[in-house]
Amino acid sequence: MTWLFDFWRSSIGGKVTMAVTGLLLFGFVVAHLLGNLQLFAGPERLNAYAKMLADSGALLWVARIGLLVVFVVHVVTAIRLSRANKSARPVAYQHEDTVQATFASRSMVFSGLSLLAFVVYHLLHFTFGVTNPEHFARKGVGAGGHDVYAMVTTSFAVPAIAIAYAAFQIVLFLHLRHGIQSLAQTLGLNHGRLTPLIGKLSVLLAALIAGGNLLLALSVQLGVVKVAS
């Protein structure tokens, strides 16, 4: 297995690792949004979906551990690469400028670290029930023991929580907007006709994901989704 470690340690191997794990994490973010959009279909639908996931047993744990591994590899590789990048330029320019780099591409480390902090908060909030135990308690009292609808709506009824979730979607947009088109280039896909298209698609997909999540966070505040009593 040393060949795999050697590959990971190489510059291109590290980039490919970022691209592949990034693609998998993007897949998760899509599935996560599609699942959560069922909030708009009402409590029965969302709670049934939550129960289905919770009842998957071993499969759920395979998915959870797999996701955790992918996430950790993505973060650890990012740390290794950005440390190497920092030491490759020991003296900064006194006068810096860019020609065509996007803001999103320049701030990947910042947006990535912010997302890491957000994911920790999100898990403490909805998965472990640490930050708002009163919202988390609602999860266990509903139909079949899975009132996720009540948990989510009571949380997003708090303006500060809804705004925090909404704000992080801007960071997620920036990260995905550069990440999606970047992974195509890293995996060797650069094509006269396709590359400009992938660039546009990258913005569109990032906007759809961030916009969908934003809608979830704000719909309770806007009264589109009723707060469970």
Binding site: W3, S11, R89, V91, A92, H95, Q100, S105, R106, T186
Partner: protein, 265 residues
């Protein structure tokens, strides 16, 4: 025209322990600049003044002054080779600047390119990368007929896009991560499109990337600043091609001394 220059002055060579040494930005005012001067001629004029005053002239690299040798190159206002696209520093003219402009002039900044003096950096890291496999192995002797190996026009054009690289190092200087991937990508792409180069393609991709990593260059994060400053306008397509060639080489690679399982041989 008049310009105010801020130039990096450094007398001792950068080391791994001390990259900055005694380096600092020094301000110079220059009143007798013609818009028709090239950027390097403007520095020549500055140096004439400095020598006249008994000061040490500013050291900078230059050779052909025709934009084809790759010797010159400084970072001008944060952009390698300055504000004009597809232009080397020697082909940049003072008419590209406003009268009275303040201009910041710094050397290429990369751990792999130690500053030798002032604006001169040591780019022998590029030579070592080229030595690792940016060539084809052929017996010398009488050249064979030019048309003996047919090369489709499209392939020849793509190979030539990469072959225009003059090895100036602006790509490294522009990259936020001081990555040399446009340079190495150009070497890989140059040969990957030609039948003569394909024979050694796996070995070349592996060795060039290993040599690049050993020199301490950073890793590409696809911001494409390199492409924007390249005086030969080499496209970032060559980086994608290098990634592809490297992945392919890694997939094909056999363990040393190992037997192929399930194969015919």
């Amino acid at each position: 025209m008049k310009v105010v220059l801020h130039i990096w002055r450094q007398t001792k060579r950068s080391t791994e322990q001390d990259h900055k040494q005694d380096g600092r930005m020094v301000r110079y005012e220059l009143a007798d600049v013609s818009p028709d001067m090239s950027f390097l001629e403007m520095l020549d004029v500055l140096n004439e003044h400095l020598i006249g005053r008994g000061e040490e002239p500013v050291a900078f690299d230059h050779d052909c002054r025709e934009g084809i040798c790759g010797s010159c190159g400084v970072v001008i206002d944060g952009v390698p080779h300055g504000p004009e696209r597809g232009t080397t520093t020697c082909q940049l003219h003072m008419r590209s600047f406003q009268d009275g402009a303040e201009i910041w002039i710094e050397p290429w900044r990369a751990a792999a390119f130690p500053v030798v003096r002032d604006l001169v950096v040591d780019r022998s890291a590029f030579d070592r990368i080229v030595q690792a496999g940016a060539y084809i192995s052929v017996n010398t002797g009488a050249p064979q007929d030019a048309n003996a190996i047919p090369v489709p026009k499209a392939d020849a054009d793509r190979a030539f896009d990469a072959a225009t690289c003059i090895g100036c190092g602006a790509c490294v200087a522009a990259c936020k991560n001081a990555s040399a991937m446009l340079f190495v990508g150009a070497k890989v792409s140059h040969f990957a499109h030609l039948p003569q180069g394909r024979v050694e393609r796996e070995r070349r991709a592996r060795n060039l990337v290993a040599a690049m990593d050993a020199e301490g260059f950073g890793n590409c994060t696809n911001q494409y600043e390199c492409e924007a400053v390249c005086p030969k306008e080499i496209p970032v397509r060559v980086i994608a091609e290098m990634n592809r060639e490297y992945l392919r080489a890694k997939v094909i690679e056999q363990p040393a001394g190992g037997k192929q399982i399930g194969g015919h041989g």
